[in-house]
Symmetry: C2
Subunit: 199 residues, 2 copies
C-alpha cells in the first residue's frame, strides 16, 4: 500500500467526521471537499466516488477503534467476562467524550450506516458485515477463554457473540435516540450476562 | 381529527413504503408524489414538509404495528415471558414476509430513522423516542405481570424493559445488515432471558 498523502488523509478525516455526525446521504462530496480544504479534482484523484471513500473510511475508522479501544478492552489482563464489562465502560466513556465534543451521542459508525444503507448499497453493506464479523470474533475469543477457565459450559459461543454484538448495537442506538450517554452506562454492562445455550 | 382523504392516504402509504425500504434522505417529495400519483401542489395541501409527513407516517406505522402485531404478541392469553417469545416469533415472521415482498430485510422503521436522523432532526428524534417509550411500557407490563406471578423478583423492571428493547433493535439491525431473517429467529428469543437486577 502506498503511504497516504496529507490531502488524502484530510479527505478521509473530513468524511469520517461529517458522515459519523450526520449521515451518508446528507454529506456530499462538495461538503467533504470544503471541510477538508481540497478541490474536487483532487478528491477524484484519490477516490473515484463517495462510496469508495466511505469504504476506506470504514476500514480506517475500524482500525483506529480497534487499536485505541477494542484491543485494550479485550486484553487478557482481566478475567474474560470482566473484559466485556470493560468494553461496556470504554463505550460509555467514548460516547460521553463524543457528546462533549459534538453535542450529540453519535452512536456506532457501523450500525448507523448499516441501517441507512444495507438495502441500498451492497459493497457498503458487505464491508460493515465483515467489520461486525471481526467484532464478533473478538467477543467469541472472550467466551472461549471463559470456557477454557471452566465457565459457560453448554453455551452456543457463536450465537452468544452475535447476540452480544446485537445488544451493543441496540444500546448505542437507544443512547443516540435519547442523546444521552447515561443510557449506555445503565444498560451496556448487562452485555456480559447474555447467554444463548446449545440446544 | 378529520377523516383522511384518499389522496392523503396514498401519500402516507407511499412515504412509508419508500422511506422504510430506502432511507429518509434518499426519498424526496418528488419521488413520494410520483409513487402516490399526486401532484406536488396536492402534497403540500396536506403536508407542509417531508418532515411533517414523516412524523405522520411514524404515528400511523406504529399504530398499525401495534394493532396487528404488538398488541397480539403481548396479549395475556400466554404466561408473561412466553409473550416475549411470541413477540420475537412475530418479528421473525414479519421480517421474513417483508423480505419475500421486497427482497430485503428492512429492519425496524423506528430504529432505522433513529440512527439516520437523531443528530439531525429534533422533532423526528423526539417522535421516535416517544414511540420507543410506548414499546418499553408494553414490555414493562409483561415484566410486572411476571412479578405478580412471583417471578423475576429483584428485577429492575424499567431498565430491563429498556434493555429488551435495545436487544430487539440490535437484532433487527444485524438481520438487516446480513439481509437474513434467520438472524432474528436465532437470536431474538433470548430477549426473554435479559435481566437487569436492582442494585
Amino acid at each position: 500500500m502506498q503511504p497516504i498523502s496529507d490531502t488524502q488523509q484530510r479527505i478521509l478525516d473530513s468524511a469520517r467526521e461529517l458522515i459519523f455526525s450526520r449521515s451518508y446521504a446528507d454529506v456530499g462530496v462538495a461538503a467533504i471537499c470544503e471541510h477538508a480544504g481540497v478541490k474536487k479534482g483532487s478528491f477524484y484523484h484519490f477516490f473515484p466516488s463517495k462510496r469508495a471513500l466511505t469504504l476506506a473510511v470504514l476500514d480506517t475508522h475500524f482500525g483506529d477503534l480497534k487499536q485505541n479501544f477494542i484491543d485494550k478492552a479485550f486484553a487478557d489482563d482481566l478475567p474474560p467476562l470482566a473484559r466485556l464489562e470493560r468494553f461496556a465502560e470504554f463505550a460509555y466513556q467514548f460516547q460521553k467524550q463524543v457528546m462533549a465534543d459534538t453535542g450529540h451521542v453519535l452512536g456506532c459508525p457501523f450500525g448507523n450506516l448499516a441501517t441507512e444503507l444495507s438495502t441500498q448499497d451492497e459493497p457498503i453493506r458487505e464491508k460493515i458485515h465483515r467489520i461486525f464479523a471481526k467484532l464478533q470474533t473478538q467477543i467469541r475469543h472472550v467466551l472461549q477463554d471463559a470456557q477454557h477457565a471452566g465457565e459457560l459450559q453448554n453455551l452456543n459461543v457463536a450465537a452468544t457473540a452475535q447476540a452480544m454484538l446485537a445488544y451493543f448495537e441496540g444500546v448505542l442506538l437507544l443512547a443516540k435516540n435519547q442523546n444521552d450517554p447515561e443510557v449506555i452506562r445503565a444498560l451496556l454492562p448487562a452485555i456480559a450476562q447474555i447467554r444463548i445455550t446449545q440446544r
